[in-house]
Structures are given as C-alpha cells and as structure tokens.
Amino acid sequence: MLEYKMPSLGADMESGFLREWRVKPGDKIRKGDIIAEVETQKGIVEIEVFDEGVIGELLVGADEQVPVGRSMATILTEAEAAGKTPEPAKAVTEKTMAPPHHIRSSPLARKIAAEKGIDIAAIQGTGPEGAVTRDDVEHALAAQAAPPAAALAKHKEVEPARPEEKPVTPAVEAPPTAPKEPAKATVTSAESIRMAVAAAMSKSNREVPHYYLETRIDMRPALTWLAEANKQRPVKERLLPAVLLVKAVAKALNDVPELNAWWEDGLQRKESINVGYVVALRTGGIMVPTIHEADTKSLDEIMLALNDLIPRARALRLRSSELADSTITVTSLGEGGVETVFGVIYPPQVALVGFGGITEQPWAENGMLTVRPILTATLAADHRASDGSTGSKFLNAIKTYLQHPDKL
C-alpha cells in the first residue's frame, strides 16, 4: 500500500485546501492521472499522481486544509485491491475533524478547533513543547477569515522583497470583484498571490547569493528566420519570438548542465530541462508554469505549450507538475519596453534568464557601424551553485543558438 501525500507546489507552499476529489475508492489510476483539485495561494491546481494502482481510502475531505507531506489517500496495488472490497468514502467526514494522535495540542485548542471546524494539524504550535494552544487556533481562524489583511500585517515586518519585475508588474491592485467560485471560502486572490511571490522572493534574496551577467544579442537572423517561417504557417500556428528564446535557453542548458539544477542541501543537477516561463497576471503577481523537457520539443510544440499554459496560468488553473517542476526560469519583458531585466531566482532553482525588449540600436560589426534589432539577455545565477565563467558560457551559448534559428 502506498500513501498519496500533499505535494509541495513550490518552496513557499506550506499547505493547500483540497477542493475536490477527482477519484473515488476503487478507481484505477495511472501515472500522470489527475486525482484531485487543490487550492493554493497560486490558485486551483490539478494534482497528478505518480504511482499506479487502485485508490484505497480517501483520508481527507473536501475543503480541508492539508499540510504539505500529509497523507491524502492510500493507493493499493491491483493485488491488494483484489483481496479487498474498496471502502466507501464514508470515513472521510469523520476523519476530517479528528486530529491525528501525533499532533501536540492543548485540550482547549482541540475543542475550539473542533467547534470552528479548523484542522488542528495545519496549525503551527507555539505552546509548551510546540503544542498548539488556544492562541494559535485563534490566530489561524483570524488568518482564515481575513487572509490578505493578516498576511499583509505579518509581512510588513519582513524585509521587503526585491520585486522581480518592477518595471511592469503593477503593485497590488484591487482584488477581482467577483471571485471565480464565490460559494467557497477561497484563499486565492491577487493579494495571496502577491504574498506567495513575496515569500519566495524574500527567501531568495535572503538566502541566495546572486551574481549577474549581461550580453547583447543581434536578433536580426532570428527575426528574419521567424518572419519567413511564419509566412508558411496559418495565423493560429505562428511562432512568437518567445519560442525561440525558450528553445535557445533549453539547448544552452544541454551544453551547460550546471545551471539546470536545484539547490536543496547542496547542488542537485536535474536530468529533464523544464523551463519555467513567467506569466504576469492582470491583477498583479506572476505565475510560472513549466514547459517540460523544452530541449526535446520542437518550436511548434513549445508554441503549443505556451498557448495552452498562459491562459490557464492567468485563470489560476495549473497542474501540480506545471507549478513545481521547473529547473530554470525565463522571464521576458519584451512587451513592456524595458531593455534589461535583472531577475531574482525562484528557489530552489539556481538560475533565471531575463530577456528585455528587442529594440533597434547602433551595432558595430566588422569595423562598420549599423543598426540592428538588439536583445539584452541577462543571467541571474546562484553563486553557491555556479561561477561567472559557467554563467558566461551559458549566456554565450544562448547567443550562438539565436544566431542560427534554423537549427533550433
């Protein structure tokens, strides 16, 4: 028997609300199936499963807050399932309220939590020996009732995050007037996304020693090639320059794999090259969906992926693997008109590539001065994980690939 646990959908995630089970006990599941919808600060995420088998028991109920790492369901092997009639989900409601035995909490805290219907396991205890006390429960209730206000008040004490995209990302705007699903007590809002960004960026600025490199790239070959390529495509399939940038980054990582990594208790190189692409939300804040294995995808496949991911990111409907798998981040502020982006790395990744807008600029080549469409590419990299020469090799690789777009 396996346990399915609440996945971490980012370094900043502590818990999520189970909004809906997509499976019931007895359902067969395969790797990659979506088994639940979980609401995080970043919206409703479709949670995928990475095992095969049969759903045994659902351990948490709808709208329950579940800490990262806590069991949500049991998964049986086919053999186990055959020997056992699948249990109906009747146990779910009972289990919802009863805190697991290992949670330290005062009797009073348990009573209040049970009365108010809050999961005591999701509360950080501050009492004797880390026990959850009445104060802790009341703080959690207050935070649940008014997450933005509470979170804002708390975060004011934290040193301000270095905004990743100051030039174009607007400050927190008024929250959307109508929440997507008004019937549910939803925690997602522009403010909570702002807080998620704030937490991740604060952590990054606090812990990651960044170094920055910059290079200017002549985009004439790439744009010329792109114009030709698009002529032969129907309007819907036309490629955007972003596709070339993503692909160039992915291929450059093949050459310089040191930057395709996470820093978690030391450097962990990643096999797959999963490029996170920053999507600015209209209500403020950003989402970073993942283009999986971008180095193996064709330009058209990358374009398809972007066309699929960007609207879903804006609707806050991404899958768990699309939020948590990125091994590097690309942020492109071309549309905003800035020339240079100095980014903040999204932990636990170790590098972020920033692209500014493509602008016409004087360009000296072969002793001649001319005008070319120029793109400024920057690298923000984690100096724990790599050094300047590695970063330099990487940026130059991107530059080279963009000179030969036909080979991308």
Binding site: S106, P107, A109
Partner: protein, 328 residues
Amino acid sequence: MAGNLITYRECIKQALREALQADERVFVMGEDVGRYGGAFAVSKNLLQEFGPERIMDTPLSEAGFVGAGIGAALGGMRPIVEIMTVNFSLLALDQIANNAATLLHMSGGQFNVPLVIRMSAGIGRQLAAQHSHSWEPLFAHLPGLRILSAGTHEDARHMLAPALADPDPVIIFEYTSLLNLEKELPTSINQVDIHKAKVRREGKDISLITYGTGVYKCLAAADELAAAGIAAEVLDLRVLRPLDDETILASVAKTNRAFIVEDASRSVSVSSEVSARIMEKSFYDLDAPVQRLCGAEVPIPYPKHLEDAAVPQPAQIVSAIKTLLQHA
C-alpha cells in the same frame, strides 16, 4: 495606618476570645495554653480572663487530651483542642482518624463530634526535620474531617467561629511563620465561609492555586507577574477537605491554565489531588498542562539557605509561570 495593622497571632487570639465570650460551652485545652500563655503566645492572658476551667493546661499526652476533647464534644461541649505543633499530632492520629472522624458513621448518625482542633504548622523557622512539617495532605486524606488552612489574617481571625458552629470535627492549620506578620484586616469582613475556596486576587491569564503559607507567596508573585503583564489569579483553597471543586474549576475555566503551589512535598499531596480533579473535570478548558511547585521530597533541612530551597519561593513561582506563558 499602624493602628489598622494586626499580627496573625493577634487575629487568632481575638478569634479565641470572641468564641469564649460567645458560647460558654467553648473551652480551650492543650499543652502550655494557660499559665505559659501558649507555646506561641497565642492564648496569653486568656487564663486570667476566662479561668482554669475554660483555659485548661494538659499533660504532654496528645492521645489523651485529644481523646478527652472528643469525649467533651460528644458530651455537649464545644472544645477547642490546641495541638502545639503539627509534629506532635501524629501521637493523636488514632483519636483523630479512628474516633473523631468515624463516630458519626459508626453510630449510625446518632453522635456528632463538634470538636475543633487547632495546630501550628509550616516550614521556615529553622526548626529542622522533626519540627518543620506541612502535613495538611495527610489529614486531608481522611474522610469525616473538615480540614481548614488559615493562609491569611482574615481566615485566622474568622475561621474559628464557623468551625465551632460545625457539628462535625474540624481541624484548623495555623502557620508559625506568619505569627508576627502584620497585615491590615479588612473591617468589612466579619465571617468567612469554611465551605468555599476564595479568590484572593482576580486574573485572566493563569490560576495560581494554593493554600496556607502559599497564599501570601502567590500574591507576591502575582504582583511581580502583573509588572510583566501577566494577570495571575490567586485562588486560596482554604478548605482542603472537602475540596471546593466549583470554585477551582470556575477559575480554570476562566484562565485555562492552572499552577498549584504548596509547601508540602509533591507526592500524594493536596496539589496532586487538585491537579487530578482539574484534569478529570476541566480537561477541555486546559490550554496547557497543569503544573505544580511543591516542597522538595526531603526531610526539611536545618540551614536557612537549604530550608528556603526546600519550599517554593515567590521568585520561583514567577519564573516558572513566565516560562509556562512564554509563548503568549
């Protein structure tokens, strides 16, 4: 101000005089209570005022004179038997436990024993292991007795009258370490309820539950805690048997935390009983485990610094409660 201050000793003496004046069935007997004026001068001059039939010196025979007191009570008198100190009470334990406490039951409800026994108790006067006892828990264990602890001047002054009015045996613990302590006696109070514990100071953050010499220690600790922003409630149990659950549980329901202080050694003590009752009846009001500060489990040492270390001191109470509430 000085005119309003009164020693704990004087409180007891006034109570005795008032009782002797109020009811001619009342008499005092014990070792050295008459000619000597009481081992602690509590009954000084009462012999001259009330005569040898009502202030009776007895031989050094606790079993004998406590038994005589029981007989007098059965015979219609209202004896106040003074056992010089709690240390000697064990010699009378058979009379107390087997006769005073049981006769109502053994007689099928025919014979009440309206006896009051006063005894000096407590630790803190460098009297060493054989004369420094806090044996309230030992007596509070015995069904058939009402056990009172006079931890304040108010109770020293006003507990005796209701104890005498009680038709059954009552033991009052008085504290030698408090005898010379001067306090203002509230004039508004002229009787105390010997069935109820008393909140000596209101607070919302934690209940300091105590009795006897712990009362003034806890009040001092509460003053200091107030300066640190902690509102401690001080609950004087006052009646150690039968315990006043209602007042204890109401206080815990208010503060959600209980801290019990007593001079008696920890094991099988009043605090262990109070702690158990809180857990049994107020479990879901508790926001922290019940904690206790009790006497050390040792024969009380003679040297001053070791004697002080053997019983709870206000500074320890303050520090323990600050630790308990650290997170708040």
